[in-house]
């Protein structure tokens, strides 16, 4: 493994790890707040227990998110000093703003977690709301920085150096709005589904437990709404790509030839040697329609671009297929849930529905990892699209395999501990049942366990 590959792998591994905890930091505070707000409204103690339970999980996730994020802010320099030297003045701004979002987030999380009986209930809920807002804000700021790497603006290039820089214009780059919306929705969808899956699983074993019913309802609402909106925002991103990053789009779609009325390819394994994508199902005109909203539009294929600016086509294509498949499945589950809830006027709880929710629970996190693979690998060989190559940005330090392997082992260990601790929390989850409501025809299934 050469040093550049080791640096890329270390960055990718650190980000892939951090993003899981980061999305938890964005979305769980929202769910805690909803539960706590329901408690204040209904005085149903189950909601309070739920808020406290979720807060415990959040505390563990947040701590690991905070330390892995600290690692990332150093890694920008440890691995990519030339990138930071070049771009720090242009995109440091969103990172600086993010710093303040971290402060409010950490401060009010401290109050939320440790302040249950030190501040008034309303102040407590407000602290939670601030945590939720600042979590979303930190995600927005850091994704703005990433969007700038994809569509750099806010400077002029003279002799390879940036002049006339304008950090505000850099923050307003064309990808920023689309990417931040898509990322926020991704966080709510993924965490909502992950949490819903856990409670659905427990409900399957303990059908009348009110605690899990309340939890499932909140998590599904947060995750479901976002999952339904997600394909729409993904489509907006796709159109942005068609204009600003045609190479990435072509790689995502396995589109080698420039074509009028390009088809949408589902599946398949792009082959860079033969410049084809065999074994795919082609939907005629699909891609032109999606990317330009015009079946006759011309989609530029990879052949239009020199070989040395192609990203690894197969990885990008497959990752994109994974994200979209996961997204479609989640949206489907969400729509079914909404339909059944509307029909029954209560939380759907049939066995097969709960099983579907369990099955869908990892999909959001998978889609996030896949989506970032599309974005980051799809931008290669550039670290700043069209401006600086990843190879120019890397540190002159050698032996980078060592930190890569070390951090990988540490993160695997941390992940295992986190899973174990959360599983322990889940196993101890409370048993709360409603007053007997007369004949309950679900009782029989309950006896089943």
């Amino acid at each position: 493994m050469d040093d550049l590959l080791a640096a890329r792998s270390q960055m990718a591994m650190s980000l892939a790890f951090h993003i899981i905890f980061a999305v938890a930091g964005v979305a769980t505070p929202l769910m805690m707040c909803i539960a706590e707000w329901r408690w204040l409204r209904t005085r149903d103690e189950t909601y309070l227990t739920l808020a406290k339970r979720w807060a415990k999980g959040t505390a563990i996730l947040f701590a690991v998110g905070a330390v892995s994020g600290t690692v990332l802010s150093f890694e920008l320099g440890l691995l990519w000093p030339e990138f930071m030297r070049w771009a720090g003045a242009i995109i440091g701004m969103p990172f600086s703003l993010e710093g303040f979002a971290f402060f409010t987030e950490a401060i009010f999380l401290g109050i939320y977690l440790y302040g249950w009986d030190r501040v008034s209930p309303l102040a407590h809920l407000a602290a939670g709301a601030i945590v939720a807002l600042s979590g979303a804000a930190s995600a927005v700021f850091v994704v703005i920085a990433n969007a700038w790497m994809n569509t750099p603006t806010g400077f002029r290039l003279i002799d390879g150096k940036p002049v006339d820089i304008d950090p505000i214009a850099a923050m307003m780059n064309p990808a920023a709005l689309g990417q931040t919306i898509h990322m926020l929705l991704a966080a709510y969808a993924a965490v909502g589904f992950a949490v819903a899956g856990i409670h659905a699983f427990l409900l399957l074993r303990d059908r009348r437990n009110i605690f899990h019913r309340h939890a499932l309802a909140i998590a599904l609402a947060v995750g479901g709404v976002s999952a339904v909106l997600q394909p729409v925002s993904g489509d907006l991103l796709g159109q942005m790509l068609a204009r600003y990053q045609p190479v990435k789009l072509a790689a995502m779609e396995g589109q080698f030839k420039t074509e009028q009325g390009a088809p949408l390819r589902i599946g398949g394994l792009p082959d860079e040697e033969s410049a084809t994508t065999p074994h795919s199902i082609e939907i005629p005109y699909g891609l032109s329609l999606l990317a330009f909203h015009d079946p006759k539009a011309v989609v530029r294929g990879l052949e239009d671009f020199p070989r040395d600016v192609w990203p690894p086509v197969a990885i990008v294509h497959i990752a994109f297929q994974v994200m979209v498949t996961a997204g479609a499945a989640m949206a489907l589950v969400a729509l079914c849930a909404a339909y059944m809830a509307w029909r029954r006027k209560s939380l759907p709880d049939s066995r097969w529905f709960l099983r579907a929710v369990v099955a869908a629970s990892p999909l959001g996190l998978i889609a996030i990892e896949a989506g970032w693979t599309v974005t980051e690998v799809g931008r290669q060989p550039w670290i700043i699209q069209g401006v600086m190559r990843t190879a120019q940005a890397v540190t002159p330090m050698t032996g980078l395999k060592i930190p890569f392997v070390t951090f990988t082992l540490i993160y695997i260990f941390l992940a295992a501990v986190v899973v174990w601790l959360l599983a322990r929390q889940v196993a101890e989850s409370p048993r709360v049942y409603a007053e007997p409501e007369g004949a309950d025809n679900r009782g029989r299934e309950y006896a089943f366990d």
């Binding site: 440890l78 003045a89 950490a106």
Partner: protein, 334 residues
């Protein structure tokens, strides 16, 4: 009129000071966890955990703020430091990761002794190592051994920090943090015996601070000549050093006389003055001897925006911090 470059580096110093006074004390708490002893071992550890719990995540954001300000306002300095100090910074990060996670895992894992002790050990050992590495990095930046030449591995990536001076600074930082923590803990403790435990620890670490300060000053002669020169010859140095000494003696006297609030003020002032003394001696260098705040500053527009962001951010931050500390640190001591 101060130039904007100087203002922003001043803001970085402020941020670093808060990191030392708050985050530093968290590290120090970990050190006392490691050295918990006597019949009140367990009570000492519980007090430390209780004191750190609600605030450590906020306290460590000060370090992140220093880093983002550095790479936004002085990008070449960030690139230079992160390149030459790759090894100690990576080790420090490993310490930060294991320490923060172990602390949290300990709070949420089973309460049986062996499990608690296992996480406690990771937490306390990393609390000992991490500040040393942080100090090593600071010492290396001042030493004049980072030259932006990367052809020879040892000269570029090892010798800038593997030297007596940076390590002396590292152990100085450790002593300071342990001292701060012990002083703060005298105020957190609710029972007399526990307070005495930390009073003795504070006095012992005050002695360690004195020894390390002397060692750093002596080693600076060869290890960091530029810093040593301005610490010896600048007009500000004697007023600064004598007021540092006054606070140092004041802290020891206050501990001796059991005036713990006074001790806290003196200890914090002493540590802050030591940091600002270093900052003044280092001025205008970010990396001695090649990179200054002037030759590495980002374009004016970036600096102006960062300055406004700092002002707006502070308007949000300081009231929130005040609230946090009022909720958790009010009315502890007598």
């Amino acid at each position: 009129m101060l130039s904007i470059d100087a203002l922003i580096s001043g803001a970085m110093m402020v941020s670093l000071t808060f990191y030392a006074l708050l985050g530093g004390a968290d590290f120090g708490g970990g050190v006392w966890d490691l050295f918990a002893s006597g019949s009140r071992k367990r009570a000492q550890r519980e007090l430390i955990a209780e004191a750190i719990g609600p605030v450590w995540e906020a306290n460590h954001v000060w370090l992140i703020l220093v880093v983002v300000l550095l790479f936004t306002a002085f990008p070449p300095a960030f690139a230079g430091i992160a390149t030459a100090l790759h090894i100690p910074l990576t080790l420090m990060l490993i310490g930060i990761v294991l320490r923060g996670s172990a602390f949290t895992f300990r709070s949420y894992d089973r309460k049986t002794d062996d499990v608690q002790r296992r996480w406690g050990r990771v937490f306390s050992i990393t609390s000992l190592i991490t500040p040393v590495l942080l100090g090593v990095a600071v010492g290396a930046i001042s030493s004049g051994r980072i030259r932006g030449e990367y052809s020879d591995f040892a000269a570029a990536f090892v010798s800038p920090w593997l030297a007596p001076f940076p390590f002396a600074v590292g152990f100085f930082a450790l002593a300071l943090f342990a001292f701060l923590a012990a002083v703060y803990l005298t105020l957190e403790a609710r029972d007399e015996a526990l307070r005495e435990d930390f009073r003795l620890r504070a006095l012992a670490s005050a002695a360690a601070v004195g020894v390390m300060a002397l060692a750093v000053f002596l080693l600076a002669e060869n290890g960091a000549p530029v810093i040593r020169h301005s610490l010896t010859w600048s007009w500000w140095t004697w007023p600064l050093q004598s007021s540092t000494a006054v606070f140092a003696v004041g802290a020891i006297y206050a501990l001796w006389a059991r005036k713990f609030r006074l001790a806290r003020i003196c200890a914090a002032a002493q540590v802050a003055l030591i940091l600002w003394g270093w900052g003044a001696a280092q001025y205008p260098y970010l990396i001695v001897p090649d990179v200054t705040i002037y030759n590495s500053a980002a374009p004016a527009i970036t600096l102006r925006l960062v300055w406004w962001a700092l002002l707006a951010g502070s308007a949000l931050l300081f009231p929130s911090l005040y609230y946090l500390f009022r909720v958790f640190k009010r009315g502890r001591a007598t």
